[in-house]
Symmetry: C2
Subunit: 414 residues, 2 copies
């Protein structure tokens, strides 16, 4: 082995040369080891998805799905005028959450999809009685929407568009909106009153979704709708009777959805309790959402215009700027027509079912916390200040929800 001998000769040449070269070796060794450690650390920090060997497009997709499946999302809903805005303002005052204003496009898309699903059922039915379904299909007379949808969905299916495809498209749409709307929030949150109508579906596409269903005395809701002239599909600004029916139908749907997704995913929140005993109620809500308690949630008003942005076109903005108070609790008393009052249990059976006292004209909702009483005093003392603030946030555009009516003739919002 000539190499060996040569090497040997070099090695035994001069002592301090040996030392130099050896120390030289040791340094190189140390350096390289450090590099290894750094690289290894770098690699360990890269999300797993990135290391998977997929078709890049399928991969990106999967990432997107996974993320939308993994990230916690809160959906706040309920009938309009039931405290959904107060609820979201309270959550907005938690450092980890951002709900923001109503997106309005999310319920719109869910509506559209629901129409498609409705047709799925039809479609299944139609496998048994096709004649019934396609009878009036060829004539140009206004055939029943059910029919049209049957036809429509038949074609969706035949067109190779599966339920799964629509689901992932809807998920992508909703997720995009939430992500951009609630940028940088750890917990995504959407407050659109009517999303609760689709709780079951939403939790089927967002496995980490949790729902807060705001519940409020129908008499207060309807009085508020009618005095504040909030135009909502189905509601009539002049007809108490009809409004109670509409409220009842809506609450039934939402409660039903809430029960479907289960106690661990959907929490009913009573507006009256929220404003009377905020501490306990909010504590309970945060526990339900796996969020740690922070005192700021009891003083959302302090963050208005800072972390909490309000829409000047939402009706409640000029109300939630104030600290939690009881102003809106009993304002309805004495304004419900007596004939409606007497029939209330038949018009809106849900009211009683939800535990509201439908017999008394002046129901008691419970005793307020000291905090709330203090807030009430503060509001009285600085009335002017709060009124001017309210004026600033008063809506600029009317709150017209009929927009939904346009693309949902076949299945009204409520």
């Amino acid at each position: 082995m000539p190499w060996y001998f040569m090497c040997r000769r070099i090695l035994f040449n001069i002592p301090h040369r040996t030392i130099r070269s050896r120390c030289f070796f040791i340094t190189i060794l140390l350096v390289t080891i450090i590099i290894v450690i750094l690289l290894a650390y770098r690699l360990s920090n890269i999300p797993q998805e990135c290391l998977l060997e997929h078709n890049s497009f399928r991969k990106q997709n999967d990432i997107n799905h996974n993320s939308s499946l993994e990230r916690p999302v809160i959906f706040i809903g309920g009938m309009p005028r039931s405290g959904t805005t107060l609820m979201r303002a309270i959550l907005d005052s938690h450092p980890l959450v951002r709900c923001g204003e109503e997106t309005r496009v999310i319920p719109r898309l869910l509506n559209m999809r629901a129409a498609w699903e409705k047709s799925t059922l039809e479609w299944n039915r139609c496998n048994y009685y096709p004649i019934v379904c396609f009878a009036s299909s060829d004539d140009m007379s206004n055939s029943i929407n059910r029919n049209i949808f049957t036809i429509y969905f038949t074609r969706l299916m035949a067109g190779g568009i599966s339920k799964a495809m629509i689901d992932s498209a809807v998920r992508a749409f909703v997720y995009e909106i939430l992500l951009h709307h609630n940028q940088y929030a750890d917990v995504l949150c959407d407050k659109d009153p009517f999303v609760l109508k689709y709780a079951a579906y939403i939790s089927s596409i967002f496995s980490n979704a949790k729902f807060l269903l705001l519940i409020r005395d129908a008499r207060a809701v309807i009085h508020s709708v009618m005095t504040r002239k909030v135009t909502i599909t189905g509601f009539n600004l002049l007809d108490y009777r009809q409004n109670f029916k509409v409220w009842n139908k809506g609450m039934e749907t939402m409660m039903d959805q809430c029960t479907q997704v289960g106690k661990d995913k959907c929490l009913p929140v009573y507006y009256e309790q929220l404003v009377l005993q905020p501490k306990n109620v909010i504590e309970n809500i945060l526990k339900f959402l796996n969020l740690t308690w922070v005192d700021s949630v009891l003083h959302h008003e302090e963050l208005i215009g800072k972390k909490i942005s309000l829409s000047k076109t939402e009706h409640s903005s000029d109300q939630v700027i104030k600290p939690i108070n009881l102003d809106a609790l009993t304002r309805w008393i004495g304004h419900i027509p007596s004939d409606v009052k007497s029939e209330i249990d038949t018009l809106a059976p849900m009211l009683k079912r939800l535990g509201y006292d439908t017999q008394s004209d002046v129901p008691t909702y419970g005793t307020p916390d000291q905090l709330v009483l203090d807030n009430m005093n503060k509001l009285k003392e600085n009335a002017e200040f709060w009124d001017s603030k309210a004026k600033f946030y008063a809506r600029r555009a009317p709150n017209d929800t009929r927009i939904f009516q346009n693309d949902t003739k076949h299945q009204p919002i409520l």
Copy 2:
């Protein structure tokens, strides 16, 4: 320096110990260097996005956007009954492309978004004349849709939902559908006749989108619609006059969109030329789409039921199963009411503008390729075979496009 002396003593201890330990050092050094190289290689293989220090969710999003922006997408559109299905069947027979059946949900969503955009314009207008816009906003009477949308968009904006947000959500939705509908295709493709109405918008969210606008003699289109009882929003199965107007309006919009996106992004394809001189026309189309020529595109019929899947609910399925032929070219001749014929240039000025001979009762579209003549003979010879095949693909459900009417009262498809 005691360490130095100790070290020194060790170093000068025994020659071959030196050798051993030195060789030992060298091996370790080599090993570590190899590890470094491997790790470095691994890192170099990881997509850049993965190495960026983003919020992981924002990051995943960006990836998704980029992909949807980079991947080539073909959109095939035009008026119904203008050969859009033939066109997509031809492209489907190219190994790199898959269009598949009509998705129907994509134009639906684009419709919805267009309504929102329409309201943007209103919204801008309303910054100048707010009174005009919000006049009838509070009363419950059916206020004009324009008004409702103004209000709606006002609220979208106030709700922190920007145009950019909606765009990325729409992009995500469309991309999800295309990706799952055309799985594993290198070039994504969507054939939904009415997408061409939104060409400008689509190319604003899909920078790599290319459009094929199918154009066909209105007389043939309308005769086909009326004899095949294809119910399309705006069309009337009994009124030639109205249908010409509707066709004209539709074509105007689509041509206008096609011009807007430009020659390099939108190619008008004349149905008559496509079936008369398929080779030249398809060559031209593939060049426009940057796709290499393959002979299979001249024989799409051979791939029906294999690579090409047809919807049993689309009207054209039982036509495109046949090789390219001239059956549908002149079938309309002699069926247009004389009074309509005489007014045709005023009813549908687009027809003349597109270069069709509106004077002659028997216009000549050009001379057919030998290939096409051969196809015609084949069809005659094996009439039975083709008829039975056609029967198999004949539609099961009526082709009712009124579905769109439901959510677009405010802006009809045509």
